[in-house]
Amino acid sequence: MKKTRITICTGTACYVLGGANLLELEDFLSDEMKSRIEITGSACLGMCKAASNDSKPPYVKIDDEVIHSATIQKIIAYLSER
């Protein structure tokens, strides 16, 4: 099975506004979830520059889908649905 790729933006804005804690995501996941995902950090994804008013950093990409105002809970909720 192809693993779900989680890309955490570590550009300055994302990192300062919450991304710093997203880097610890793995500690919060069940073994089952860990087995079907792949977490990578990434240099600035450029999302903050293109953002509209109600979308805020930190940004995370789950495969090709973008999550704004990302939190660990939000990512887990998203993964549980898949």
């Binding site: 300055t12 300062v16 610890e24």
Partner: protein, 483 residues
């Protein structure tokens, strides 16, 4: 332990918004729009409604401009733009570095004891019979505590056979190691500055973000955008704070407008050397023990609350103090800005003529955002005035200061003479512990005290998760980077 949460991010967002307007030269025209911009109409309210959220953002903006919120009438009647000129014309920052947003603070209980649904409405009612103030009564379901009579003695909690009464803390009061925070007659929290040690634990403890720092970013922004030179004195903890290399960070600081970047670890080397020499002298003269002196919150706590220990505190100055003196000598015209994880340093900076302003890593992060910098793409740069040792760079981790002093004794062949002991994280018990140590009952002869558990890398002004910070700092220390 340090907790990051939505409150901390909101705080950084506010500072970034203020700084961004400053960089664009639109602070006065646009500042009144910040609350609505950060809390748009359709946002999910953190409290009762978006209007209240916006009011609290307004008050945070006032604190970011460096003002307190004690004068509620002034806060109510002023527009944010009314504060801008006053902030820009101000000559020196306020000495009382913290303030409360009363609007945000009112969420806490006035009485610390609460009767839960576990109450069986028993016949004995030991809570009622034992309450010294007659504050408890009962209806047909359970007992109730009358907040206007209760004096928080806690007897009812001890007496209840069902454990139905719980203790509900006020987080800021609970976190304060020296009992400096309490409610006044009207229920508003106040800080008693004759007791406060500026450790900053209350800021992180309040889940409503009601404790705010009076920021010095306006002063720093003025210096960065003005014609004069500005020096960034970076605390050694900085190496673990961002997902960038120290070279990139140094470059980022220069792009922000700093003309020189100096590592405060240089001064840490002087502190360690001075403490090692003093340690040898003190042991020879029969003192039996010495306390470290680099954590300003603990030194303030000793002065105000553990006077018996005062004579044991090393006379060595802090790493910042030495570094700022060296920097002033080399670049006498430049404004010295300390950038660190520490709130107590704000206070130390106000008392030290060589330190002009102090900002935290959180504020630095917000300045990067405001300037639109992605630090990883900044041109790599260097430190001015030379490079510190690994030991100096490792100061901000619990155990790091003692390790540096021990290393110097080891180099002199006197390792056996030193037994370090640690107070890792200052709490309510630490005061009595220091007073006990002062009577000669100490577990070691070099007492390293750090107010923040884990060391400065877990300070109240950090942006990195402590685990990340510790690994990243270690990487930098081990690299022995002298580029």
């Amino acid at each position: 332990m340090f907790v990051d949460n939505r409150m901390t991010y909101l705080k950084r967002e506010v500072i970034a918004a203020v700084a961004s307007l400053f960089f664009d030269n639109k602070l006065k025209e646009e500042i009144n729009r910040i609350p609505t911009k950060i809390i748009p109409r359709n946002s999910v309210s953190h409290r009762c409604c978006v209007e209240k959220d916006r009011e609290i953002i307004k008050q945070r903006v006032i604190a970011s401009l460096g003002f307190g919120l004690e004068d509620e009438k002034l806060v109510d009647e002023s527009l944010l733009s009314d504060f801008v000129d006053k902030a820009i014309d101000r000559n020196s920052p306020d000495k009382q570095i913290l303030s409360f947003i009363d609007e945000a603070c009112k969420a806490c209980v006035r009485v610390n004891y609460y009767v839960t649904e576990v109450c069986r409405n028993c016949v004995a009612k030991p809570c009622i019979t034992n309450c010294p103030k007659g504050a408890i009564s009962s209806d047909d379901k359970r007992a109730h505590i009358d907040g206007s009579k209760c004096v928080n003695c806690g007897l009812c909690l001890k007496m209840c056979p069902y454990h139905a009464i719980v203790y509900v803390p006020v987080p800021c009061e609970e976190a304060c190691p020296v009992g400096a925070i309490s409610k006044n007659a009207s229920g508003k929290e106040e800080i008693d500055y004759s007791k406060c040690i500026h450790c900053g634990k209350c800021i992180r403890a309040c889940p409503f973000g009601a404790v705010v720092e009076k920021s010095q970013i306006i002063e720093v922004l003025k210096s960065l955008t003005g014609s004069g030179k500005t020096t960034a004195l970076v605390a050694p903890a900085i190496a673990g704070q961002f997902p960038f290399s120290m070279k990139q960070l140094s470059g980022g600081l220069r792009e922000l407008g700093f003309d020189y970047v100096v590592e405060v670890a240089l001064g840490a080397d002087v502190t360690a050397q001075t403490e090692a020499e003093e340690f040898i002298e003190r042991m020879a003269s029969g003192d039996g023990m010495m306390g470290t002196s680099c954590c300003p919150a603990y030194v303030e706590a000793v002065k105000k609350h553990a006077q018996k220990f005062e004579k044991y505190v090393s006379h060595a100055k802090t790493p910042l103090s030495y570094t700022a003196a060296i920097t002033r000598e080399k670049f006498p015209q430049a404004v010295n800005v300390f950038i660190g994880p520490c709130i107590a340093k704000r206070h130390e900076g106000l008392d030290d003529d060589n330190v002009d302003y102090v900002i935290t890593f959180e504020e630095l992060g917000a300045l990067f955002i405001a300037k639109g910098l992605d630090v990883s793409s900044c041109a790599e740069s260097y430190f001015d005035l030379g490079y510190a040792t690994c030991e100096g760079r490792n100061f901000p981790v619990s155990g790091g200061v003692a390790a540096a002093v021990t290393k110097i004794l080891e180099d002199k062949g006197r390792r056996a003479e030193i037994t370090p002991a640690y107070i890792n994280g200052f709490n309510k018990k630490s005061i009595s512990l220091l007073n006990i140590y002062a009577t000669g009952k100490s577990p070691g002869n070099l007492i390293e005290v750090m107010s923040c558990e884990g060391g400065c890398i877990c300070g109240p002004g950090v942006v990195a998760n402590p685990k990340f910070a510790a690994n990243k700092l270690k990487e930098f220390v081990d690299s022995k980077e002298h580029w």
